[in-house]
Amino acid sequence: MRLAKKHDSSILEGDLTPMIDMTFQLIAFFMVLINFTQSESNDKVQLPDSELAKPPESVLENYRIIHLAEDGTAVMGTKQEHYKGLRTTLDLQYREIQYSGDEPALTTIVIRAHKNAKGGMVQELIQICQEAGFESFALRAEENVNSGFKYISPVPAGG
């Protein structure tokens, strides 16, 4: 009778190479896609979408971001208050920009308003910023991959 070849009594080891290959590929994938620009977003704000909202080709140099939630809460930097009380914060920002040698009128106020916020609130917020001395604004929207206009009026054409 022929006996099977007797192995050493050492521990059996699986081949780890494919698993390590895959794991490193996964790590590389997540490292490349990780987004460090979380500071520009706010959990309270869900942006409206637009088919023309494309990421800008040139990065804004001087800008301040105001998040406007559905209930009128505005977040600017570390300050969180109702948008009507934002004037003091804006005045501070204005002086800070002047102190740093930049032109406040050329500083863009990026408004990230919730899609269900009242349009009048955005208008008032712009007015408050104007009173503080800011002139340039950017309304931020989310890129809509499904192109086309969403609103179809219930009113029939010519009606």
């Binding site: 780890l16 390590i20 794991t23 490193f24 996964l26 790590i27 997540f30 490292m31 990780i34 987004n35 620009t37 977003s41 409206p48 979408d49 637009s50 088919e51 023309l52 909202a53 494309k54 990421p55 800008p56 804004l60 009128a105 863009t108 990026v110 308003a113 919730h114 899609k115 269900n116 916020a117 009242k118 349009g119 009048g120 609130m121 955005v122 208008q123 008032e124 712009i126 007015q127 104007q130 009173e131 002139e135 340039s136 604004f137 950017a138 309304l139 931020r140 929207a141 989310e142 890129e143 192109s147 086309g148 206009f149 969403k150 609103y151 179809i152 009026s153 219930p154 009113v155 054409a157």
Partner: protein, 162 residues
Amino acid sequence: MKIRNADKAGEKIELQMTPMIDIVFQLLVFFIMTFKIVSMEGDFNIRMPAAAPQAAPPEQMEFPPMKLYLSADADGTLTGIQLNESQPTSFQALNQEIQKLVGTDGGPGARETAEIEIGFDYDLRYEFVIGAVTAVSGTKTTQGDVVKLIEKIRFNTPEAPE
């Protein structure tokens, strides 16, 4: 001469994989937990000085001044669009109306003087405002290129809610 370790020549050197795999899996878990799919964002630029902007004299204006008003019901849903004297029934119709007014075949700078003032009811939801801004500021060709229409957009002064 005595050869050192001659008896170990065929021995396999084994690396300790366990600590490396531990760290690698921790890194993997960290990246998976912090991963967030963020959609791309873009801006619509509007320039609004505090002093009411002076309209250019009619002879300098290539296009007539345009006024757009969006009406809303109590829920903030859009109920009507008024562009000068016409009433487009949708943002698509508004976009076509704007294309008729300012044209899409002009060369660079042809539409530089075109200006529009957008007004809307206080309660109108912001998504409709952005929809109107999208409709007046450009259009997408079938190839996916963006043709700009009106670049000078401003909002009227807000009216306090009743």
